[in-house]
Symmetry: C2
Subunit: 596 residues, 2 copies
């Protein structure tokens, strides 16, 4: 077994930190309680461990290939995707009225983690379909959805997101792909899109491209961008596959990682125009795309947790197996497995604490998403939406940045063997590096955090979260164990550091944007660190209760130790980050451009 | 030009921080003053930029190949090595009596940086030859040296270091390769060595393997290890190449990076025994190897600086070229090169500050090495040796760990393009990861720092360095500029944090080794951070003087800003690291092994 889903930890978060009972109390989610979560996660674990995980290294060795416009995926991927679709996994979180299972994101997020731990390259395909589904649910007409939505939800077809062009990466205002309205209400689309994940492949009979383009005569900038559906094959009445559309893959990229996932350059309209259909209203494309991107950003954050978990499991297995040198404390008189060495433990504990902290943050955020969409009380929805939206850049930015450190530690634990490709640890290191880039780089997430999520409400949401954290500190103090007290102290220092930074961001966001944005990514990292550490602190409180009740003793003891480690070694970074952000903006911006 | 040697910065360090005038005042180094340094560095820059740098990406695309026992290096490498040898570069730091140029390490280190920036995979070959030369200089008999040394120094032959075996990585006590004494005073060597850099190649007519092995009947553990010369081809009287020796390459590794550098599995003695010659005395092999490893460790630290510099230059070029989005401060009303965005500046400044800090630390350490070997005054030699030996784990550990962060930022600055192999940024990210592993992992460096370098003299050297840092703080305070005062404050906080940790290490090193070694790598990182930051602080003082004198104004202003950035953003990490080390040891060690 190369991957074992961490079901116990996932279910702990779902039950105790994200409170699935409260989600199951929401109308529509009555059947989505803890038992359902457990059953679904167990099934997903089987599929991920048994079908997807064994294909992961295979995909790295034998990536997707491109020849004459055709992309052939790694042997085994097509069949795995068929099983995925037949298992109903694509529809997990999507509405029952379109053929989905209508389960909460809280359950979906854990499944997403497993799929991505098992095989990041594979799991990207369904992730992109999820994005296309979200976009259609948001703005597709009933007629359009009748044609495309169920096929996407069932996994018969897959979806893509076409944003990037050579001159338009983070800056979507620069999109040039154009759409010419036709007499029949359709459009002809012309242009080049790059970095299109699963933009061409052989795993499904049709591909539904969601494409950002400008209608002729539309305003410049982001206000003139519309969203189109451009299917690879046109769809005839009755849903039958029709003529090949004028969208063609002209090459796929040679990438450092996620090699099995074909990253396509797509050419639209070289032979008269690709036929497309506008989604929702013209010129509102970016707005729809952002809805879809928020879902995708959360999902990429989960990918960070997923790849980190896989790297951790591999490192643990190696550290228990590899015998090298005597323990420094003399407790063993011969060479011992390297997990006995304190620095190996330190690396593994770092990995573990990061992963558990980020997993808990993601679970709590997913539950907030569910409540924000489905809770009957408008105030509850609103509060949860504010919380969730604040969390999206943290889940995306912090979890993926931490995955770089964790996968690097994963290689390091292996020593020289980590650098040999056949060992497999290097693949995680290479794969992870895309996560801080796609669906918005960490800097783009940080801009969102500083501008929309902190500036717009003058820090109100940030301060409300800090107030919740202060409550947890009181609970820790009341609990009174040495661990609880130590964690409370570190959490308080980190919270106060965070509040100083929030103050700095709200004061400078508009007045001195260069100063604020000089610290945007450190602010994101500090906030992500704090929130993850807070969830670990909450986990410690739960674990101490459960321990007192005699439940899952070993697991609860481990949780307490890991929470303590998080506070000792990760939360302690917060005050220094505060100093860097609040006192260090000038030195970020001072150097003349020609001096670089 | 894909690489431009940072001559100005190197010469600034050599002149002002490492005080080459003092080195040139040492007998034997009379001709090694600033002018010589400048001339040598300029020549080395030409060679590195013009010959080696263009082969770097080529070597990644078309790595060394293995077929039927023969390794063929990337096209162009053989000729480049010929030029390297003919240019006299291999002998730069080696004694004139063996055909070298006898220049100080202070000059050699800068040349090493350039060669490695230009082409890390290539530069490994001469680096390993340097190691073999060091070992022979240390312990080789005049007869042995007459045969091998000049050929190595001239670059006609190359050298290797054969330490690792499948069961003996960090733990050399487990070495099993055996050597059987023969009647003629030679030995027959039998065993398998792995991870042998340039263990087989086509760039030189002979390869001189330095091999750790056990003489039959030798004591167990490290005290029974001897060092042997085992040439690929035996050498006849008069230095002519003779019969092929019984050492054969059976495979080379498929690695994540440094792909052009062949990493060989060598089989000794499958056909009757490889003929070897003991270096120095039997059973003292590890002692000799450590001398050679200390040189190699310093050199690997320089590789970290080198790869970071290359990544920085590439990122700067991209950031000045790539146009995307308007600056947040509204200073430009259209899309601008991304270097205008504060977060891009932050990433570039981080890279720059790390590199300049580590380069200065390496220069000062190299000068200490020179003084420790050649100064006429024994006390001066002793002081410098203690300083240099303290620095080796910092130069190796800190500079290579920072190179992981810097090469990751390098990819990040490129956004999506960074993940595409053809861009080249990904290669640096992949190449760098070996640096924290080979010649002793960061943990091995940290063990050395905690045990030999801090514990053995009860922190005396560490405290002496802290006292020198306090002097710099006084000078900064006296200087009195806003930058100097801000740097003084951060330096003081970091120094006090360091002293707390030194106290903790000396108190716990023997009494509670699990606690000490739980913090060993963080201690190394804190110490490296402090010393680099200290050198940046010294650089600031020099730059303010030079600025006042009107010398190189733009360079000096940039140095001051970079030093300030270092203090604001990197030194500020120190107090948190102290807290993690001093208060966090228990949570590193607490988790039961079966709970991982």
């Amino acid at each position: 077994m190369t991957y074992k889903a961490p079901l116990k930890d996932m279910l702990f978060d779902i039950q105790h930190l994200a409170n699935i009972d409260q989600i199951a109390a929401i109308p529509g989610f009555e059947d989505a309680g803890f038992d359902t979560a457990q059953a679904v996660l167990e099934e997903c674990a089987k599929f991920s461990e048994g079908v997807l995980a064994p294909l992961n290294w295979e995909g790295d060795k034998n990536p997707s290939t491109f020849k004459n416009g055709v992309v052939t995926t790694t042997a085994g991927f097509k069949d795995a995707f068929k099983q995925y679709a037949e298992g109903g996994w694509q529809g997990l979180q999507h509405p029952t009225e379109h053929g989905g299972q209508g389960l909460p994101k809280l359950i979906g997020a854990s499944c997403g983690e497993m799929l991505n731990s098992a095989n990041l390259s594979f799991a990207l395909c369904p992730m992109l379909s999820d994005g296309a589904i979200e976009a259609l649910l948001t703005a597709g007409s009933p007629e359009m959805n009748a044609v495309y939505l169920e096929k996407l939800v069932s996994g018969e077809w897959t979806g893509t997101m076409n944003l990037t062009e050579p001159q338009a990466g983070s800056d979507l205002a620069a999109v040039r792909t154009r759409a010419e309205p036709q007499a029949d209400g359709s459009y002809k689309v012309f242009g080049t899109k790059i970095y299109i994940t699963y933009g061409e492949h052989d795993m499904a009979e049709n591909i539904v491209h969601l494409v950002l383009a400008r209608v002729s005569g539309a305003p410049e900038g982001v206000k003139g961008i519309s969203l189109f559906v451009v299917p690879k094959f046109l769809v005839e009445d009755g849903g039958k596959i029709g003529a090949r559309n004028d969208v063609h893959c002209v090459s796929i990229e040679h990438k450092m990682g996620i090699k099995a996932s074909p990253t396509a350059v797509l050419q639209y309209g070289d032979n008269g125009g690709a036929i497309g259909f506008v989604v929702g209203e013209e010129n509102r494309g970016l707005e729809y795309m952002f809805i879809m991107m928020n879902a995708a950003r959360f999902a990429v954050g989960v990918q960070g947790i997923a790849i980190a978990e896989r790297a951790y499991q591999k490192a643990v297995a190696f550290a228990k197996d590899r015998v090298q040198s005597r323990p420094v404390d003399g407790s063993i008189k011969a060479s011992a497995p390297i997990i006995h060495h304190p620095d190996v433990k330190r690396m593994l504990m770092n990995m573990r604490a990061y992963i558990e902290g980020c997993r808990a943050m993601a679970a709590v955020s997913a539950a907030a998403f569910d409540a924000s969409h489905h809770h009957p009380d408008a105030d509850v929805r609103k509060q949860n939406l504010a919380f969730y939206e604040f969390m999206v850049p943290l889940v995306k930015g912090y979890s993926t940045e931490m995955s770089l450190e964790v996968t690097s530690l994963g290689v390091q634990v292996h020593g020289g063997m980590g650098f040999i490709e056949e060992t497999g640890a290097a693949q995680y290191y290479r794969d992870a590096k895309i996560l801080t880039i796609y669906e918005g780089t960490t800097a783009i997430q940080a801009n969102d955090l500083v501008g929309r999520k902190t500036g717009r409400d003058a820090g109100a949401t940030a301060k409300a979260i800090a107030a919740q954290i202060a409550t947890t500190e009181s609970e820790l103090t009341e609990q009174g164990s040495a661990d609880a007290l130590a964690v409370a102290e570190r959490l308080k220092e980190a919270r106060l550091a965070f509040l100083d930074v929030v103050e700095f961001m709200t004061a400078n966001g508009r007045a001195n944007p260069n100063a604020a944005y000089a610290g945007s990514v450190p602010y994101l990292m500090l906030a992500g660190n704090l929130v993850s550490g807070w969830q670990m602190a909450r986990a410690l409180l739960v674990a101490q209760e459960q321990l007192a009740a005699g439940v899952e003793t070993a697991f609860m003891q481990a949780k307490i130790i890991t929470a303590r480690f998080y506070a000792d070694h990760l939360l302690t970074k917060a005050p220094g980050m505060r100093d860097s952000i609040v006192a260090g903006a000038d030195s970020v911006n001072a150097l003349a451009l020609e001096a670089f």
